[in-house]
Symmetry: C2
Subunit: 213 residues, 2 copies
DNA sequence: ACCTGAACACCGTTCAAGT
DNA sequence: ACCTGAACACCGTTCAAGT
């Protein structure tokens, strides 16, 4: 019985395992089993565990549907950021890898270039362009992080939600407690409205550049 | 030979291992060894590996030096965000855990409350306050993420830096390539200037609220 | 009750043997 | 050259025995 794989096949199966069975289920051995081979065969395609995880991040990046530029830099920036966020959100179990592992594959650099290019239409100076790029990218990734591990996140279990609420309400955290009940209600708007805030800030710098330093 | 530990002792030793030897070096067994016990003793204090990692995140949170409020909401917000960023940055090897594991300990909620409280001084509506809270928190965590795994990050090895640069310059990523050389130069200012952008956006919403929706 | 060693079921990877 | 099983050195955790 011979077996030969393409890297894309391996990549897809790996992401599939993560999506279906969770991150801990992704193992050299489980992936090999899914591919109906022995674990060692994988080492002919991938450098090891670390490299495999980068391949999964790359797969998520490949899911980003980079939008066509329209000429409106703010709209384009919003569109790329949203596309990034959607792709990450579509694979929640892979988020820890996306936040943690580095990829420099074309698939992952393409959205970054699209974002930088969109922002470049705003007439920012070189420095401000870099700062704006990092700010937007950080916002997107940070939102993903907040959804994964932040406070004020909607819980999976009802009990843990109640426990957290009571912890917050327990006296010394008045502002957080006041905000906690809004979490579920605003959830879907948070990304968009947060992005609006970030864009408003960038636009301000674009209008009157070099106002600090 | 008897041995009895406080949770704080365990926590501190765990963070110490991560800081000194890196994240992979933190192991039930290595931590037990550092404490001069067998691995099983740890289970009397901690629920397991997952709980131990949350304890490390908690330790990093405890390093946040939450500033005293001054009454200037923007300055206070900046101060809390900066304090958060400094604490995270002081323990780079623990960043993957900070981005990934959830803690609801008082130590980790205190900075969150301080941030929410500072923003609450800006006269934002309840919705906008939550959005602003998430935006600033996301920015801080996202910046930490960018420093860990983003593109345009300064490299540890000189060869990998060169390799990335050449990848970027290889034709199809003009905007990123143009930005890449600024990475090292701006590094220290990026957080502060990005935070300025975010604050400018929040201030705008504070001035004329409910302008969308 | 608290502590902890031995043992189990994993894991990634080396190494050397197959084709 | 490509492939892959056996074996090794780990890991987290169960289980049952000690005090």
């Amino acid at each position: 019985m011979r077996a030969r794989f393409t890297l894309a096949e391996i990549q897809w199966h790996a992401l599939d395992i993560v999506d279906r069975d969770g991150l801990p289920a992704l193992t050299m051995r489980s992936l090999a089993a899914a591919l109906r081979t022995g674990p060692m065969t994988l080492y002919n395609y991938v450098d090891g565990r670390e490299a495999l995880e980068e391949l999964v991040v790359d797969a998520v990046s490949a899911c980003v549907h980079v939008p066509e530029p329209t000429g409106d830099w703010a709209a384009d920036t919003r569109a790329v950021a949203t596309a990034l966020w959607r792709a990450v959100r579509a694979h929640p179990a892979a988020v820890p890898l996306v936040l943690t592992r580095r990829t420099s594959s074309p698939a992952s650099l393409a959205p970054a270039e699209a974002l930088a290019s969109a922002l470049a239409g705003g007439g920012l100076g070189e420095d401000d362009l870099l700062v704006a790029f990092r700010t937007v990218m950080s916002f997107v990734m940070g939102i993903a992080q907040a959804e994964l591990a932040g406070p004020l996140t909607r819980e999976t279990t009802r009990e843990s939600a109640a426990r957290r609420m009571s912890t917050l309400a327990e006296g010394s955290l008045p502002t957080l407690a006041g905000l906690a009940h809004l979490g579920a209600a605003l959830a879907d708007q948070e990304f968009e409205r947060g992005l609006d805030m970030v864009l408003a800030g960038i636009r301000q710098v674009a209008v009157r550049p070099h106002d600090r330093g």
